[in-house]
Symmetry: C2
Subunit: 360 residues, 2 copies
């Protein structure tokens, strides 16, 4: 998508053969590009959230394995580096998925070709991610169009966290239908949950929408229920970090609360995801590992002060804080899943109808 | 309650006949005492939230009318000052209630006695608030004791916003049962919702509990649903800014989301309130006026940086933000109301059984 009129993806290989990313920690206040030269750089970028979001974690892992292929002297070493990268974020399924895909392709080919193979596979993962998100938009905008026709006024869409193009390579998952609708001239307005503690909504989704010109309003995470009670939300679209083939949706902490409110107020609640985010093995969504991050991310918050990015303390210094990063929304609260192949229910049978090759 | 070992109320008349408050805007980082010398001082203290919380707004309005009685030359002037104070916060019923109580008493007596009458009524309101909160603790701790006996381990209580002693004159409403249980040696731990956008949980509830020595953990507002899904919350206790005699609970924005999660996970959800917080006239809770505050309170947040209290910008400067301050939780999500007269259901019949004098 565009940044001040210039097209960017969130990750790319530049003409000097260097993997580059947008270091998202400084958005919306500074636009910083970072080089990833070593596997350690890649691990830090994933763990400390220079990059984040299901698809982009996958794409970064893909390019990370290209960096690894240049460093490693054997397949064993490469596998160790893959394991090391996998440990950086436990909830996002795309991380495992991209690394395993790389290792499989590399093992299938000649060991001397590993760098070329890894480069091609990384580029494939990158391009596929962008294309799948584009297709999510093509399928999903129709839901928005229907509401727009029925309502004949602005369609108000609530989203949580950032499942925008910054969370993928391009377009985003939850935002893809929104961008597609906007580009087709449908009148949309987005309620942006700020998404504490890391404020991915207030920092990233608001920045994206602002850059693209989409009307939006930032709200505290506490507000969505009140808006839904008062008819101010026409639909919810969120992304997911892992969705089981049985329809359980792991997404940014707080998603579950919005899903409960949507159900209670008859607001459609959609989850947008490319197939790389499905977990085809876990049956019980409550078995998804939930990452716990440092409580310091709750106690301190980052913002702009006199042109500088600073961190301020919010709580008494002595108070303890905990920081669960994700929660699980059960299938009965989900109206539908928007994938690159179309829209289905959050049910095994319906999901497998779209992905029959997974039926084994 | 105690601040560094010295007992304080949140508002008092000092020996020089000056009304003083704790200016809560600087907590937990600085403990500031402010003089309220004019009706304008009182209005600003209420509107800009130097004081906040149902009971304390009432007590400040009570003492505000004492300040007004010293300034005003006629009952008409006093009524105008009362109307002016009432406009400062639309949702809190205690504001109206305290001002009307003062005006009624002053009108019943000799106009020359207005200052004496207003001083006595203000002190009555102050003392009554403290005593009612104490009684809420006496009735409410039994619920905690029951859970403690059944569970035989730490009782985990989630609370939203600050309905602590800082929101009243002393003890608090939601915190009164917690302090009472703690003082009786029951093992309690409090999940403190930080309560965006003004962070009354992270700033005030955490500070209070820390000062009193009660175990607590600060969490983002997004976390409560996940905790309840995982059996980590034994009960919820919140306060309220206005509860209708039919059992609708207006409280800090986000309360409704926690009530939905509590219902979905069979967690008892209690609302603690003194009788001054009941609205005996409104039948439909959705008719309660919901205050909208400045979006700047969402876009900027205050915290401590290098020993100074600073405000940092969280969003893109261009992004819009809205700030609904309260929401309404319907009776069917409320397990019980804890009042100074005992515990009842959030139903007209049950409430009126405790307050039969309101049956007209």
């Amino acid at each position: 998508m565009n940044v001040n009129g210039k097209h960017y993806r969130t990750i790319w290989l530049n003409e000097k053969d260097t993997v580059q990313i947008i270091d998202q920690r400084w958005l919306p206040h500074e636009f910083v590009i970072e080089d990833l030269n070593t596997v350690e750089d890649v691990a830090v970028a994933i763990k400390d959230m220079h990059v984040r979001g299901a698809g982009l974690i996958g794409a970064t892992a893909g390019w990370g394995m290209y960096v690894a292929a240049k460093q490693a002297k054997s397949v064993e070493e490469l596998e160790k580096m893959g394991d090391y990268l996998k440990q950086q974020r436990p909830t996002a399924i795309n991380l495992e998925w991209a690394i395993d895909r790389q290792l499989n392709e590399i093992k299938k080919s000649n060991i001397e070709d590993r760098v070329n193979v890894a480069r091609n596979v990384a580029k494939q993962i990158e391009d596929e991610d962008a294309e799948y998100c584009r297709m999510i938009g093509v399928h999903g905008y129709k839901i928005i169009e229907d509401i727009s026709k029925r309502k004949n006024s602005t369609v108000n869409i609530l989203t949580h966290c950032n499942a925008g193009w910054l969370a993928f390579v391009d377009y985003g998952s939850a935002t893809a239908p929104i961008y597609e609708a906007y580009n087709r001239g449908i009148d949309v307005h987005v309620w942006v949950d700020e998404t504490r503690p890391r404020n991915q909504g207030a920092r990233l989704t608001a920045w994206e929408l602002n850059m693209h010109g989409v009307k939006h309003t930032v709200i505290a995470d506490n507000v969505g229920g009140h808006l839904m009670q008062n008819g101010l939300v026409d639909m919810v679209i969120v992304g997911t970090d892992r969705t089981t083939y049985t329809g359980y949706v792991a997404n940014k902490i707080g998603t579950y609360l919005k899903a409960l409110a949507a159900k209670a107020n008859n607001v459609p609640f959609y989850v947008a995801l490319p197939s790389s985010t499905f977990d085809w093995e876990l049956e019980n969504g409550y078995d998804i590992p939930i990452e716990q991050r440092s409580g310091e991310e709750v106690k301190y918050i980052q913002g702009l002060l006199n042109g500088k990015i600073e961190k301020v303390l919010l709580t008494p210094e002595q108070s303890n804080a905990v920081n669960y990063a994700f929660d699980v929304t059960p299938p009965e609260l989900v109206t539908g899943l928007i994938t690159e192949r179309g829209i289905c229910e959050a049910k095994k049978e319906s999901i497998l109808k779209l992905y029959p090759e997974k039926l084994v």
